[in-house]
Symmetry: C2
Subunit: 507 residues, 2 copies
């Protein structure tokens, strides 16, 4: 069977991923090292993610702010003092002027900054300093802030959406009176991400605690949601950190409690990024391109007119306009339906395939015969082909389609989720109790994950486990919140197991 992409998932998953992005016009290389251009369809998906996530963040009482792009080098000095071999890959601004000198454009030596500025890799330090100004008394707590921003972490090897030097994200930062309140917020954010991934992205995930070696530096506890890609690898799609009082101590975030004593705050931070789009591609894409979950599709229904450069075209266009208007009045997922009447002057079949590759949930084709019969031809992106391997374009009465479209979109959202959920469920093994068998479990093609019992070693004992895993290109993902209790012995140390941890290959 022929497909719209030049390469299939079976043939070469990595090349297929790049093909989805380029053929679907999601993003492209910018010519600037490690930075991508996010094109309208890709950015439209991000705008949908932003809008829906922002509504959840606001509903939780969190206020959006904006903090500086630049962080003075000295803000990192304390961290550097405490970390052996501190060397951070970050973009460093050292000059503030370009000048033509001897015919060559260069940073003007006279504009050298006294203190270099770092382009924010994350904003804990600068937000911490703001919090120390804003918080005086218990009345100011909890302080719940969030920022939508671009951040930069210099990366040697980049992959679009998954790992780019510049990426877009939200970072929540909160301060609380005590550990309990901060832990409640940490888990609230994690649950928000889990539910968002499952609901809006139709992407099933496992929420759990990261082992010590995978914690955010300085965090007391780090939690993540992990999604399974179609090649069986794991993608960390969001994290939530309980930071204890360490960051508060460094930034001076304290409050006077009701008894009048100065007390350190407990802080949290949590974030998701454009990386989520990479996850959506690798969870829902097929050999014809992306299949975009309707809740985050920039356009949910595309109307493609089949024109023949003949006078009858006018009737087709009028019919499409009327249809677009009727669909615009429909609500789906409690928002106005997003419909696009594609009037670009290119061939209808090219349009159809370009929307298939982009993953528009429903594509409507309207030709002269449809107009005569009062019909529309409906193509659902979640089931593109019938059993005979032909495009499964269904003819429906126009009115019936308008009446059914909201349910159809819900059905597509649910199908995508169900398919991915079944895959995730079928690809986590829980029967491996021996280290060699664990290594063997990952010798296949799409190995999935293995949940094993372990004794939760720390320090050097953990280092040894991580080292062994690394030798097999494996990582510890997380300890699922809903895992069964442990009852046996640790697969790594032989000591009594205390919990179950997920092992897998990862992006």
């Amino acid at each position: 069977m022929k497909h719209a992409l030049p390469v299939t998932r079976e043939q070469d998953f990595a090349a297929w991923y790049q093909a989805v992005i380029s053929e679907g016009d999601l993003a492209e290389e910018s010519g600037v090292r490690g930075c991508m251009v996010i094109r309208p369809w890709g950015y439209g998906i991000w705008e949908r993610i932003q809008k829906l996530m922002d509504a959840r963040i606001k509903a939780a009482g969190v206020d959006n702010c904006y903090f500086p792009l630049f962080i003075p080098l000295s803000f990192f000095a304390e961290e550097a003092d405490h970390v052996d071999g501190f060397a951070k890959e970050m973009a460093v601004v050292t000059h503030h002027r370009l000048k033509q000198i001897d015919g060559e454009l260069q940073p003007d030596p006279d504009s050298k900054l006294e203190e270099p500025l770092v382009v924010r890799p994350t904003s804990e330090t600068v937000i911490g300093k703001a919090m120390s100004r804003w918080i005086q008394s218990w009345r100011d707590l909890p302080l719940l802030t969030n920022q939508w921003a671009n951040v930069v972490r210099w990366e040697m090897r980049t992959r679009m959406f998954l790992r780019t030097s510049e990426f877009l994200w939200q970072e929540g930062h909160t301060a609380h009176a005590d550990r309990d309140d901060a832990m409640t917020e940490t888990m609230r954010a994690l649950e928000m991400y889990r539910d968002f991934a499952e609901t809006e992205l139709a992407m099933p995930v496992v929420a759990g605690e990261k082992p010590e070696n995978e914690r955010f530096p300085g965090a007391v506890a780090t939690y993540s949601i992990e999604a399974m890609m179609q090649d069986g690898k794991a993608l960390q799609a969001g994290t939530s950190h309980y930071l204890g009082t360490g960051f508060a101590e460094a930034a001076g975030i304290q409050y006077q409690n009701q008894e009048g004593q100065q007390t350190l705050c407990h802080t949290t931070s949590w974030g998701v990024s454009t990386r989520m789009i990479g996850g959506v591609i690798m969870v829902h894409g097929d050999d014809d391109g992306l299949r975009c979950p309707p809740m985050i599709a920039p356009h949910q229904v595309i109307i493609v007119p089949m024109l023949r450069d003949k006078p009858e075209d006018e009737a087709v266009i009028a019919y499409c306009e009327e249809l677009a208007k009727a669909l615009g009045a429909v609500d789906a997922f409690r928002e106005p339906l997003r419909v696009l009447f594609d009037r670009k002057p290119i061939k209808a079949s090219n349009k159809r395939w370009s929307w298939v590759k982009k993953g528009a949930p429903v594509i409507i084709e309207v030709g002269g015969r449809d107009v005569e019969g009062g019909n529309v031809s409906v193509l659902r992106r979640d089931r593109l082909y019938n059993d005979a391997g032909k495009l499964d374009s269904a003819i429906m009465a126009k009115g019936d389609f308008v009446a059914a479209v909201a349910d159809m979109l819900r059905d597509i959202q649910s199908n995508l989720h169900g398919e991915a959920k079944a895959r995730l469920g079928a690809n986590i093994r829980r029967d491996v109790t021996d280290k060699n068998a664990l290594g063997d479990a990952f010798k296949g093609d799409k190995p999935g994950w293995v949940e094993v019992e372990w004794s939760k070693p720390t320090g050097e004992a953990l280092d040894k486990v991580v080292e062994w895993l690394k030798g097999h290109k494996l990582t510890l993902r997380n300890v699922p919140l809903d895992a069964a209790p442990a009852s046996g012995t640790c697969i790594f140390t032989g000591a009594p197991a205390v919990e179950r941890v997920l092992v897998g290959r990862a992006y």
Copy 2:
């Protein structure tokens, strides 16, 4: 009469401006040179501006994209070759790693970039290169893109919102088949900004063409909207540029026309920024703080409960909750009304004044007596005091208020606009025909602007005019689109006048 701010507009306009920002919790210095922290109320206003402007941009068929933060130095080299004494104040990234060397954290010399990267001051060059990839044929035109982003222009003297090294903005970039289509887009964007300023911001502006010396470098024509601050100065609040084919030539943006010939595109760009918030403050603020136009107010109605730490408080809280729910079901300006029930554990009178200083359009106070009578006490921010100089708090039946609130918000929006419109109208003089009189016209305290007839000199003749104006701390603002035709002689050159131009002091 006592006011909420420590300084009045009369006493010291510049200090008053800073006081509105700090007392209204809009923004603050970040400790990072030239960069501000935008606090929730200030950022909330920006989110409103973004949302409403973005809807207008999308309605015009413009697609949002995202382009890299960094621009390679070489992208500026061509510009530098053509501009005498090219020296641009821009943040330059030269290293990609921080390292602890001899106990001191510093840019790692081994991480020096082969080619420095500039933090985008605007994105013409990098978007131009993308357009050259995306445009092949006349079928791809017009190409209409927009980006919401942070940009950096190193500034020696900064003022919050008005001139900061980092600021937030949108930049529209479009490519067209010919001059006519590009000019139509340039004027569409200008009119969009004009109408947005008048409608959403309640801020009257004059739209017109900038004189040659004020053009964006490389533009064929630059248009602006200019708003008048309460001290009489002008604030350029948005610009739209017709760029001709120069940028297309530099970036290689060309298309095959219907006759098969390669043809250069005509491009435009247009932008507004967080600067608009500075304009809103200086147009609508009074000696009690900001007066936020209801359309862009993050919360339009604030409910402040008057609690006494007594059992009766419960009834007050329940009453407020019910009121908040009723208001949440109301639509104002075709959106759900934005109501906040302020439950912070601080004194009601402090809350009232904090919301007055922030400029919340309507503040409702609810005490035990209001609950008994089924009433609310209503404070309108646009008319805070009665003729006797007392707070003009009106008691209304709760149901009447809920029924009237949408109209009340419309009335406030319209009052703010009317007041500012009258001020603008009263402070443009058109009777000055002599250069000395022009200088004298600006000797007063709040001089406003003067519209004069001129011969539209160019080159050195224009330089002389600009030089003379500079000596009087004056600038040419724009040639209003709706100005009367010229009939006399040029106030500067004595030659026959061809049009009328606005002269004023400016931010």
